[in-house]
């Protein structure tokens, strides 16, 4: 449920860092809490985000939830498939349901995030 190669935030985002590119989405726990996702508001490519900054919104049938950037960087790609298929966030939160890719400006910020084991423990205790 929480792949080992990812880092996680307390707000339930994950980031997969490859080189200087970080792919960001929300965790299995987050998608399950949200329920059926019906709309994802994406940021603009080129936007510079600070660690912890809100960059998008996920709406499920019943709830509206903000998404926060796990580390600082510049948006280089957004998952346009979510415009027509927001349910990918539920179906493949770590795959086709990714939300944005950023060029990470300071990889050291990742050190403050949780690994899979800590995150699993965190959501096991309620996660909020």
């Amino acid at each position: 449920m929480y792949p080992d190669n990812l880092k996680y935030t307390k707000d339930h985002e994950w980031i997969d860092l490859k080189g200087e590119t970080g792919t960001i989405g929300v965790s299995h726990f987050a998608q399950k809490e949200l329920g059926d996702v019906v709309f994802v508001e994406l940021p603009e490519v080129g936007r510079r985000l600070k660690q912890g900054e809100e960059f998008g919104t996920i709406e499920s049938v019943k709830a509206v939830s903000e998404v926060y950037c796990p580390v600082s960087g510049e948006v280089i790609e957004v998952n346009t498939a979510l415009k027509d298929h927001p349910e990918l966030v539920n179906q493949e939160p770590y795959g086709k349901g990714w939300i944005v890719r950023i060029r990470v400006s300071d990889p050291k910020e990742l050190a403050g995030l949780m690994d899979a084991a800590s995150y699993g423990g965190y959501v096991g205790q309620g996660g909020h």
Partner: protein, 367 residues
Amino acid sequence: MTASAALRKTPLNARHRALDARLVDFAGWEMPVQYRGVIEEHLAVRASAGLFDVSHMGEIVVRGPNALQAVQRLTPNDAGKLRDGQAQYSALTTPSGSPVDDVMVHRVAADQFFLCVNAANDDKDFSWIREHLVPGAQAEHVSEQYALMALQGPAASRILSLLTAPSVAALPAFSFVDARVAGRYARVARTGYTGEDGFEIYCSPDDAPAIWDALLDKGKHSGIEPIGLGARDTLRLEACLRLYGNDMDETTTLLEAGLGWVVKPDKGDFIGREALMKQKEAGTQRRLVGFEMVERGVARHGYPVAVGGQTVGQVTSGTYAPSLRKNVGLAYVPAASSKVGDEIDIIIRAKPVRARVARTPFYKREK
């Protein structure tokens, strides 16, 4: 999903837990908001059948030789048209023509009317009724004597018929009968809040789990699903059935809320009649309309509505509509922007998002 011990529980609470439902606080009750997922549950009701625990709803009996006069004074619809075993949608009205609540009025006998009211308004309604009774009528608060389940969807009649005597298959809409369901006494009404054919089953709290289990068991082959309050809301909104506290309250009149069809001034006097007659003559300045999002976005309760950059109204309900695959909602708008096709903006996170006044109901079942 912590649930406070102070929350009231329905007699089906253990069933919801066993089904791994997500439980939430709704009007002081611990209620299931979803089991397998809102969209899946919604579509199951439209395609086959769904079973809802709505035991949090309240029940009030008005009885006595002048019970009819009391109900006629309290409500704007014409309860004089009801025969024994018939029900009608109505409201309790304030002198200004606004709903204290919307209610389902059942005539059990000439001297006995059974009212089903919203959970959040249960105590308020009972006080209101008691304060506005006529001599020769009494009100009895019987909410704790009843559990309530709704069985809704095209397969509802087939499933319930397997368990009920006398048969309810031929029961007309807005009629009810005291029957036995799975061997237990129950009041079965052909009513609902989903836009589908279906039934509401009032029974003793002690009998509710047995009836619940029997319905889920007999409905298995038809694809029955337990349905939470999440899908109840999307279903009722597609059918444009009003939700008290969202779409109307004591600050909106019945005419503004689009419920003029329950107002029958010719029947004689009732609380709010004069105000409603006056407003009908003058015309309503604002109206509750249905709208469809044209641009991408989900409207929610409380979002502003703007026309030409000016805020002119407010969204009262909004959702993604699973059967229509569109984002829809209800909103109060000025009369000048209330025609089907009129363009309005919904302000979502400080940005105007285009929507259009739409024909209602959004969803109508094929008969």
